[in-house]
Symmetry: C2
Subunit: 268 residues, 2 copies
């Protein structure tokens, strides 16, 4: 049985979820982490709910086999498609990025007009829409898929004039609608946060689900009596289902570290 | 046993391979076709040789189970990673897009400087490089990965100023090197052909592997005595491993038809 010193499992469709591991490690440095990135089947965001759920169940099983005490679904597409299915399939705490992101957005908005950007799967699922309306029934939620942002981040064009033009093209309708909070509904987007904040202008608060989910993980661990009481820094293990050179390179960019040891895993 | 009236199998990592089906149908309208797009695991182009080969073997087996007389590997990444493995694993004619594309490029070049654009996997494999040097030992081959082109095509931004700027950024080094032939080493790129031709300028011939492979399929069928002698238009069957709404929409764009019936397949 997992106990408080067991690791926290984190999975994502690829390597973007490392932005969640980074935020978790900053907030909870004494916890141990096991990460799984399903890089052989990445991305999930263009695929259907049933396919994403099948993959997510396999990812969760991989983490459970390694004795994790909790699973964080770092991927927005997987969170929206499959958190409910995972909760009925497995018996440990499972937390996705949608609820914490929605809570942070509702807290931050004055106008009640909230923008959400993400993949096709996340936007089509209307998951943020539903969560926000539960918390703030009169809110106006405007969601927009931005499929070019992930490849732009992976090219490393974080502050390029082309990326700025793409952002302007995608975000115009959100600006025109008067949104005052923008939820970054994809783990790759935090790397574009400065540029997106600039395009949206001063009146807009950027909500990054990586930070919001870390706070939620901390509360849930405390509530369940599962917080690690160790006072020394935890271990981190990184697994991926396919390991091309670019994965390590982008992984280092996400974690902001120079060396990164990643193991190859078989899943599915 | 397959015979001359058996269908031709075509597989791709996704739906881009429909550009190959379109070219094949134009050249060989009386053949029957079975298409498989592995949309649950798309793209292949960011993944390793061993993962791509594992997926390609599963895709080929799916087509063989449906009685095809030949397999066309429509995906450049799969062609470069796994055609050799498929030929040793299976006993029917297997044809990839690399050799026909290389042949067409060698025929078209005057300067001997040939440009290749494609995914990371295709470019890193140096597959076009090797094929071209077999045919023209003194050739200078310059290859450049263009990962943003696929999502730009899938957004439908075929003639957008952003796409033009991305093309200029990617292609400058090829232009500066004096290439007079540009191989479109990815099935999505033919939709950008007019824009790419314009960016490269008048002196450059564009080689589209979809057209080149159709000519090669015609010759190989004749050589093996497997050409369909029917005089009525053939049937086409389309299968994908995942079917989000966008797949049908982009599929229609690739085939240039208004209705498209696609079935869901289980592979892997």
């Amino acid at each position: 049985m997992p106990n408080s010193s067991s690791p926290i499992g984190v999975f994502d469709s690829g390597i973007g979820g490392l932005s969640v591991v980074k935020a978790l490690t900053e907030r909870l440095p004494n916890e141990n982490y096991i990460y799984l990135g399903d890089t052989a089947r990445v991305p999930y965001g263009t695929k259907t709910k049933s396919t994403i759920t099948r993959f997510s169940i396999q990812d969760t099983r991989f983490l459970l086999d390694r004795g994790v005490k909790m699973v964080v679904v770092a991927c927005n597409s997987a969170s929206s498609a499959s958190v409910d299915a995972l909760r009925s399939e497995f018996d440990i705490p499972i937390i996705g990025v949608i609820e914490p992101g929605a809570q942070a957005a509702v807290k931050a908005t004055n106008s009640g007009v909230i923008g959400v950007i993400g993949t096709e799967a996340t936007v089509n699922s209307q998951c943020y829409h539903r969560e926000i309306l539960k918390l703030k029934p009169g809110a106006n939620v405007i969601a927009k898929p931005c499929p070019l942002f992930v490849p732009l981040v992976e090219e490393g064009w974080l502050n390029d004039s082309i990326t700025r033009q793409v952002a302007e093209k995608y975000l115009t309708e959100l600006k025109d609608a008067g949104v005052d909070v923008l939820i970054l509904g994809c783990t790759h987007y935090p790397l574009l946060a400065p540029l997106l904040a600039d395009v949206m202008g001063k009146g807009t608060t950027i909500v990054d689900s990586a930070s919001s989910v870390s706070a939620a993980v901390e509360s849930l661990l405390a509530e369940k009596g599962l917080s690690n009481t160790s006072t020394s820094p935890g271990r981190r293990e990184f697994h991926v289902t396919d390991l091309p050179a670019k994965v390590s390179q982008i992984g280092r960019m996400f974690l902001g570290i120079d060396d990164l040891e990643i193991e190859l895993a078989e899943v599915g």
